[in-house]
Amino acid sequence: MSGMEKPRNRRLFPHALDVANGRVDMTHGAGGRAMAQLVSEMFAAAFENEYLAQGNDMAVMAPPPGRLVMSTDGYVISPLFFPGGDIGSLAVHGTINDVAMSGAKPLYMSAGFIIEEGFPLADLKRIIEFMAGASRATGVPIVTGDTKVVERGKGDGVFIVTTGVGVLPEGLHISGDNIRPGDAILVSGSIGDHGIAILSKRENLEFETTLESDSAPLHDLVAHMVAAVPEVHCLRDPTRGGVAATLNELANQSDVGMALDEDALPIKPAVRGACELLGIDPLGVANEGKLLAFCPAGRAERLLEVMRSHPLGAESAIIGHVEEGQGRNLVRLRTSFGGDRVVEWLNGEQLPRIC
């Protein structure tokens, strides 16, 4: 952690933050010296970059040529630390992915923290370090931020809101309303890993699994995809609500129907088993490091090849095709069993069967 070891400004902050045993209190959000110290010694130190070094409430940068893309997302995940990730790296990956789903190259991020009074400084430091690590690994600096503290009981540990800005290469038109009948539907890897990894750690539901969240930044995979196949019609990351919700959303947005092939869906045995046990459908389980891609059928094999040659797309598959919508926009699944069923989006969380 490069910046963390810098000597403290003893004139400004005579007392060290007690990271090991200390907790966030109301003064850390009150705009005074305690807040300045928290920001300086934890956030600015970890995220260190030329924009933060300006020391302003905003970052100033020259706009790149081309169209700008902007996206924002709030992160409220529970638990904060989970197999394969944590809220900090998730807040970086998730927003980078939202920007990247336009085909854009993400450039900058902002981060807002809403922290509950009493939250351990040690946990906050871990989250910030994971976040800084993810930001550095993706080459997308966190250039501005904000910290607020709310009274105990008015939050749940920490909430993070990140906003990302990116720039779109010329010649791309990737959008949720751009899907055409005949398009192939591809997914960049196994479905449902994130949701099941989180469920396995939920209070009252702990079960043993070696599954990890698939949380990952997809911008580099996207860059390879659109460079090789600029005819990509649509990209979207199937997060909350899983593949089922995303496809239904897109079917309505583009006024088309979709047909999936169950045998083609990449689903890990551990996810399949957990879903069977809990009575939920893997298609409705969240992902954080996968994308769905739509492209003309004639370009699907090439796109698949490019995706599979990238580490984050090694298990990519063509899972179905787009049909005329006929005003109904149904997503259908040809089952392994030989039947045919509707893939519905869910109302609320997937609820367990009771008998």
């Binding site: 009252n204 539901l205 045995p269 399949r272 088993g273 069977e276 009575g279 006929q326 109904r328 149904l330 259908r332 089952t335 392994s336 069993f337 030989g338 039947g339 045919d340 069923r341 509707v342 519905e344 109302n347 609320g348 969380e349 609820l351 367990p352 069967r353 009771i354 008998c355």
Partner: protein, 371 residues
């Protein structure tokens, strides 16, 4: 997946269907009721009705616990959560079931009531231990399958003197509901696909009375091949004119069920004089209440809950659907005013309800048929 994928083999399923078709005799009726909502779900999910020969008619029965619970009971749960300030612990399916005025536990929760979804009665006991200053009520619903966990919770609460815990008992029994269906004005049935999980508790013995009344009975598992095999056996019983009780779920079900589970139920619960079922009306000796020895843990007594019968919403055909008198799509509200997002009738709420299963899995089949 061991013990699951083998029972979902489509090619084998088509062979079984061909064998069934070959054995169906002209002029013979093969109308069978699958009692259990879990079976209804499998039938809809795998499209079994479309695979079976036309001679076979499957009627969806009342074995969906959420679907048969009357609105008045939901209102009581709402009253507990809202007016008595308890922590109401419930299985997930119940939270969206509409009570009077389209109210639900989910809406009550949003308005400040403390409603918690649990996966097990053990979770509810844990909450009671951890919050000794609050009353914790477990909303017990379901047939014989979910009754033993409620019964065990009562035993454990009593043993631990967990005096802030109680059970709102709505457990119902399968045989009285079957009796009511057969006594009612529904379609004449030739046989019943009996519920596998219920039978793991009660055994196969209680179905003999229905075989004695001329019904072919096969207790079935929940995978598509289980159900097709059960239909096959029912067809044979009809052809042989030899109705009897058969166990086609041998891998999970000993003929005598689970005596220990029955003993715990017998210790903690007792038969209610009468219980209102949605669709079937008030049935004598069809449900359980908490035994007097456990009265201290009975939420109905602790909170002096009155029961007020509430008529079903107008135009809602759930009552006829759970008796097999109507198919879901014959209800005017189906898919228009009543969908899983905004359910009016209980059959649309639970994934095991006939309406939800048809909506979820069957819609495009009707579109395809219309084309």
């Amino acid at each position: 997946m061991k013990y699951a994928s083998e029972f979902r083999d489509g090619a084998l399923a088509r062979k079984v269907c061909a064998a069934i078709a070959a054995e169906c005799q002209d002029g013979c009726a093969y109308t069978f009721m699958e009692f259990c909502g879990g079976h209804t779900h499998t039938i809809a999910r795998y499209g079994l009705e479309q695979m079976l020969p036309e001679a076979i008619r499957l009627v969806h029965g009342p074995g969906c616990p959420v679907c048969v619970l009357p609105v008045g009971r939901i209102d009581s749960a709402l009253e507990l959560a809202r007016d008595h300030g308890v922590i109401l612990c419930t299985y997930g399916d119940m939270v969206r079931v509409p009570g009077s005025h389209r109210d639900s536990l989910l809406k009550a929760k949003a308005a400040g009531a403390d409603v918690r979804m649990v996966w097990s009665t053990l979770d509810a006991l844990k909450i009671a231990r951890e919050t000794p200053d609050r009353q914790v009520v477990f909303f017990g619903i379901g047939f014989e399958t979910t009754t033993p966990p409620s019964a065990m919770a009562l035993k454990m609460a009593k043993a631990e003197n967990l005096n802030n815990f109680s059970v709102f008992c709505n457990h119902v029994m399968t045989p009285p509901a079957m009796r009511a269906v057969l006594d009612g004005e529904g379609l004449p049935l030739q046989g019943i696909i009996a519920p596998g999980h219920v039978s793991t508790v009660i055994g196969t013995g209680p179905y003999q009375e229905f075989a004695d009344r001329g019904q072919a009975i096969v207790v079935s598992g929940f995978e598509p091949l289980d159900l097709l095999q059960s239909v096959h056996r029912l067809v044979r019983q009809v052809n042989e004119a030899a109705p009897r009780v058969e166990n086609a779920y041998g891998r999970a079900l000993p003929d005598d069920g689970n005596a220990k589970a029955r003993a715990v139920i017998a210790e903690t619960m007792t038969v209610r004089e009468g219980f209102e079922w949605r669709g079937l009306g008030r049935l004598p000796d069809s449900a359980l209440r908490i035994a007097d020895a456990y009265a201290d843990f009975d939420a109905e007594r602790r909170f002096a809950l009155p029961y007020r019968a509430v008529p079903d919403p107008k135009s809602c055909e759930c009552a006829d659907i759970v008796r097999g008198l109507k198919r879901p799509e014959e209800c005017k509200l189906f898919g228009t005013a009543c969908t899983p997002d905004a359910p009016i009738g209980s059959c649309m709420v639970s994934g095991e309800g006939a309406c939800a299963a048809h909506w979820l899995y069957g819609r495009h089949r009707r579109t395809a048929a219309a084309e």
